[in-house]
Symmetry: C2
């Protein structure tokens, strides 16, 4: 069966382990019909495709690299095979492309030309953390990275907390793994004792830890966060409600 | 193999079609080890379990209903089987439990007691829409439902637009299907011409439509939105950046 010409947004795993634990089998049928891939990192993309189907002849595939270093002017050119009627895939280094990565740029270029984009199901550490956090999933914001400078970061955390209270909204953000402990320091220093803080580490790994407790209980029983991919979430409910 | 005792967050499909297109096969292995389910709607939960495995004996399963009508005091009691060492599942009516549904309440009760929660991968119309929208996926907010009252809604849309510009953030929200056309009216009336608006209808269905264009182009070529589940997203980039 000929695969429909579209830009397929292809999630990849966020941990090791069996692909069938994290990806619908329907995805691999689609991927096997694609020969042109726009990827954040060519090496991890090749490794994923080989793992999914060891019989894949990687030399028959074309990869276009899209990351923070890609010149804006190159991006639209990547879509030439799609314009000519070939299906194309977009892959991030980990998780869902177009979320917390530079993938959205090429999607917007495709949207501008009225090309069809089809998102596939797969793991997102942001969404999985939120599901398991117990925090408000009816209103939430993903803030990306917070400022690195201590003073600016302190202020941002306090601003996000008051916003959380005012808007009844869960705040979600990420940090580079080697700064996880410093981030926890800043959170415990700046957040109120009743604010619920969730630390979600190594999501989808066997050693996954997703723990929510009030800040005052984090202070009493502080767990060490390893230098592993971690999502931070907090939620401050307005006492008046 | 005995399934680990934990609260499993179990996504269900958001459209008809083969389950293997939307859910990892690993999920069904886990689900077959669970006999106690906390669900938003018992009827849809049964139907999903039967579709996944027609040999399931539904009469052997226990369902606890958790929706907007469930008294707060009942929720913690639902976790008794988990406290006794049995795995339990949480299922929403559609998509990922704990996101845009009342599921988070029981998760928080489990977090309070230090019980383990394990989220499984599955379809989220919010995340899939964002992936395919081309809008900023590095900062975004899910706002739930906007006010129904026209004046309040108009103001909210304008506020969210100025917040989007100021914070460089994609705004995401939902509407009940029969009000989709009215929502599009309000958006075209209140948003600036350059603001990018994405309408994502019937996500994961064969007739899925995820279309992003500037508001001024929506006005020139307005597409009818059917009375189907729809996610609305917009993003206003600050011209000064």
């Amino acid at each position: 069966m000929q695969l429909e010409s579209a830009l397929y947004m292809i999630p990849v795993p966020i941990s090791d382990g069996k692909l069938s634990d994290f990806l619908p089998s329907g995805n691999s049928e689609i991927i096997s019909g694609i020969r042109h891939f726009i990827v954040e990192n060519v090496r991890t993309a090749r490794r994923f495709l080989k793992k999914m189907d060891p019989s894949t002849d990687i030399s028959q595939l074309t990869f276009y690299e899209l990351n923070g270093h890609t010149p804006e002017d190159d991006i639209s050119g990547y879509l030439t095979p799609l314009r000519e009627g070939n299906p194309m895939g977009v892959m991030s280094e980990a998780g869902c492309p177009g979320v917390a990565d530079p993938g959205a740029k090429v999607v917007l270029a495709a949207q501008n030309e009225g090309l069809r984009i089809i998102p596939l199901v797969g793991p997102s550490s942001i969404l999985l953390s939120l599901m398991a956090s117990g925090l408000n999933g009816q209103k939430f914001a993903f803030q990306g990275y917070l400022p690195v400078d201590t003073k600016e970061r302190d202020k941002t955390i306090r601003d996000l907390e008051s916003q959380s209270r005012r808007l009844d909204m869960t705040q979600i953000f990420i940090e580079t793994p080697y700064r996880n402990e410093k981030m926890l320091d800043s959170l415990l220093k700046n957040l109120g004792g009743e604010t619920l803080l969730c630390v979600a580490s190594d999501v989808t790994n066997p050693q996954e830890k997703i723990i929510t407790k009030p800040v005052k209980r984090w202070k009493e029983d502080r767990l060490k966060i390893e230098k592993v991919p971690t999502i931070f979430l907090f939620y401050c409910r307005d006492g008046k409600k």
